[in-house]
């Protein structure tokens, strides 16, 4: 492939560039919201997130303190103060709304005998020749440069007052049992389908493969009616069972494929030694199947954590039961324009799956390759 040196370096260059473009395109939407989640409300609506890292220029208009408060200083009456709360650099100011950037910081503007000056750190000084009166301060027009500024306030807000913290707990309550229970049940079934002889085995495997693709929509109404009739209509137990049911086909399919591929000699020799199937399963098959168990566990965890449909149908809408995806959906409706809340909430809900994803990617990929019949 590296026949001609010139072509090959051009190809390498093109490949690197296209990979780079793809990665940027894929990461950009997430990065945009992530950066926004650290900006405050005003910044988000004033400028795009891509400007967040550079200093931003702002024109502000303030009213100086009332003339009544002027203090005598020599022959003058002086008012001093700050145009903005600390840290902002002033690049220009003015005393007339039509010429808001007339003066550079440090210059003295003369307004009908009154000397006005604003320093580059934002301190203003107004000197009157005689004792002034009145309660309306002088208007000042100031252009400031604001350094990039980030805040954790949004996260504080969503975690402690928007109910996301509670939903986080609810989501855990749903996810952990809904991940563990199907694994156990599926592992036994998978072993039976892989290594035990009985009539109807082939048919059962076919049924499991068929059930892999049954759309959830089919199950919602019948199961809701069933759950309501036995009193677990809006309860954690109901949703655990529902997730177990919907996760089982993939669990059995993945685990059976893996367990069927274990070396035959190991299992046969254990049988010859008089071990029962239960012992073989417990002592040999289960430890050897760890990679497959981990793969499915990650699948199921991500699927349950990210699910909205089943949670909406099988859990209530109240504080005790609203999961994070449901909360996000609610926020999208009620606070659709409050990006600081939405962004922070979204990242609280995304954080755990992303963490699981990056730490267990190996198993996830292995599981995908083994079970790419189902689409999650």
């Amino acid at each position: 492939m590296d026949g001609m040196a010139g072509t090959s370096s051009r190809v390498t260059w093109a490949v690197n560039l296209s990979a780079f473009i793809l990665v940027v395109l894929w990461v950009l939407p997430t990065v945009g919201l992530l950066i926004s989640s650290f900006r405050d409300r005003d910044q988000i609506s004033a400028s795009g997130w891509w400007t967040a890292l550079s200093a931003s220029e702002q024109n502000i208009q303030i009213r100086a303190a009332a003339p009544d408060e002027a203090q005598p200083e020599g022959s003058l009456w002086v008012i001093e103060g700050e145009v903005a709360e600390g840290g902002r650099e002033v690049t220009a100011f003015g005393v007339n709304s039509r010429r808001p950037v007339e003066f550079a910081p440090g210059e003295v503007a003369d307004r009908n005998g009154v000397a006005v000056t604003v320093t580059d750190t934002g301190a203003y000084r107004i000197a009157y020749p005689e004792k002034p009166e009145g309660s309306r301060g002088l208007r000042l027009f100031v252009t400031t440069v604001e350094p990039p500024r980030f805040t954790l306030e949004n996260y504080e807000t969503v975690l402690f007052s928007e109910g996301i913290g509670r939903s986080f707990l609810n989501t855990f309550t749903v996810t952990i049992p809904a991940t563990v229970i199907p694994i156990l049940i599926a592992a036994f079934a998978a072993y039976a389908l892989a290594w035990m002889e009985f009539p109807g085995r082939a048919l059962l495997i076919a049924v499991v493969v068929g059930l892999l693709v049954v759309p959830l929509q089919m199950a919602l109404i019948p199961l809701l009616k069933l759950h309501n009739s036995i009193g677990i209509g809006k309860a954690y137990f109901g949703i655990w069972m529902a997730h177990t049911g919907f996760g089982l086909p993939l669990a059995i399919y993945l685990l059976r494929n893996y367990i069927a591929g274990l070396p035959k000699e190991v299992i046969e020799s254990a049988r010859v030694d008089g071990a029962t199937d239960f012992d073989i399963f417990r002592r040999i098959v289960l430890p050897l199947s760890f990679p497959a168990l981990a793969s499915f566990a990650i699948f199921q965890f991500l699927w349950v954590w990210n699910d909205l449909l089943i949670a909406t149908v099988f859990l209530g809408n109240n504080e005790d039961q609203l999961v994070m995806t449901g909360r996000l959906r609610e926020l999208l409706g009620s606070r659709g324009g409050d990006w600081e809340i939405l962004a922070a909430s979204a990242f609280v809900s995304i954080a755990v799956p992303i963490l699981v994803f990056f730490s267990m990617q190996r198993y996830l990929v292995r599981g995908l390759l083994a079970g790419s019949v189902k689409g999650g």
Partner: protein
């Protein structure tokens, strides 16, 4: 305490559930061994009998749950689709007749067909390109991780992320959505993307493509690495350019995998619901079947019609189901 109660219950139930499962398997096996001891005069016959029963002990919980949670609902949905709004009175094919004449249903069908074509096609294409380029660069693993990452994000989280990309402010205001900022930067007029009938569906599809490309990339990259070197070397010796090698030598050899990726994404597309619910809730002509079903189930409170819509989704999946079963049986 009130906060931790559910967590406590979760832990409690988890322990009980896990322990209960283990206990079930343990006790039932023990009982079986007691009933048919593998010694004594009838040892041979007992072993045979125990071996005939044991698989069913292992399978029982799985079969029971699959039966109740997947097989019964399919039958029950078919039955409900022939009944009235609360499933009481038999109405024959009324729900189906209503469906065929309903504008929203037809709109959903058309949109679903668009989704069915566009999303698998684009996700597979981008996945193929991503697999091809990331396999040939030094930082390929990092690039793969980053493209794959949206897989871990919930549909609703992805919707929030993309709603921000599509954000629209009136003309003259500072655009904070990057798409509109680019459009304005190029001299165009800002658009409220997700409210433009017909085209808005494509903006929603893009979200799913964004999520699924990583999946396609991972599977296809494994397939590409499995291609025998000789075929590629032969083509290079014959003077094929890298692009020709890719499209004419490599891609034809992984058609089987491409088909698997395509069908997997197809199944997912048919079930897509969260994205439409979060972005438009089916307004501005963007309705799809899964969300229409949800609509009739909750807002319409008509179980008959909702079941009929669900049956349509089931019917659309059925060919793939049959194909999968035949493949699985052929493999053994």
């Amino acid at each position: 305490m009130a906060t931790f109660q559910p967590l406590f219950w979760a832990l409690f139930t988890m322990v009980v559930g896990v322990f209960g499962c283990v206990a079930y398997f343990w006790v039932s096996n023990m009982l079986l061994d007691r009933a048919f001891p593998a010694r004594g005069a009838q040892a041979g016959r007992n072993i045979l009998r125990a071996n005939a029963i044991r698989p069913w002990l292992f399978l029982f919980p799985a079969i029971a749950i699959l039966g109740v949670y997947l097989i019964y609902p399919v039958i029950n949905s078919a039955w409900l689709s022939l009944h009235g709004s609360r499933g009481q009175e038999f109405v024959g094919l009324d729900n189906w007749r209503w469906m065929v004449g309903d504008d929203k249903f037809l709109e959903s069908m058309v949109n679903n067909l668009l989704w069915l074509f566009v999303v698998p096609a684009l996700a597979t294409l981008f996945g193929l390109i991503a697999a091809a380029v990331t396999d040939r660069i030094r930082w390929g693993n990092l690039a793969k991780s980053l493209i794959f990452m949206p897989m871990a994000i919930s549909f609703i989280g992805a919707s929030v992320i993309w709603k921000f990309v599509y954000d629209y402010r009136g003309e003259g205001q500072e655009q904070i959505g990057i798409l509109n900022a680019i459009v304005v930067g190029l001299g165009g007029e800002p658009q409220a993307w997700i409210t433009i009938p017909f085209w808005n569906s494509f903006f929603l599809m893009l979200i799913l493509v964004w999520i699924q490309t990583g999946f396609a990339m991972v599977i296809l990259s494994a397939a590409l690495r499995g291609i025998p070197e000789e075929t590629i070397e032969a083509a290079v010796l014959d003077g094929a350019t890298p692009l020709q090698v890719f499209w004419k030598i490599k891609v034809p050899q992984i058609w089987g995998t491409i088909a698997v990726v395509w069908t997997t994404i197809t199944i997912l597309v048919l079930k897509v619901f969260d994205i439409v619910l979060a972005m438009t809730n089916g307004q501005w002509g963007s309705q799809v079947l899964a969300n229409l079903m949800f609509d009739w189930m909750f807002r319409g409170a008509d179980f008959g019609r909702a079941s009929a819509v669900a049956m349509v989704i089931m019917l659309l999946v059925t060919p793939i189901m049959i194909w999968n079963i035949r493949n699985a049986r052929a493999e053994g």
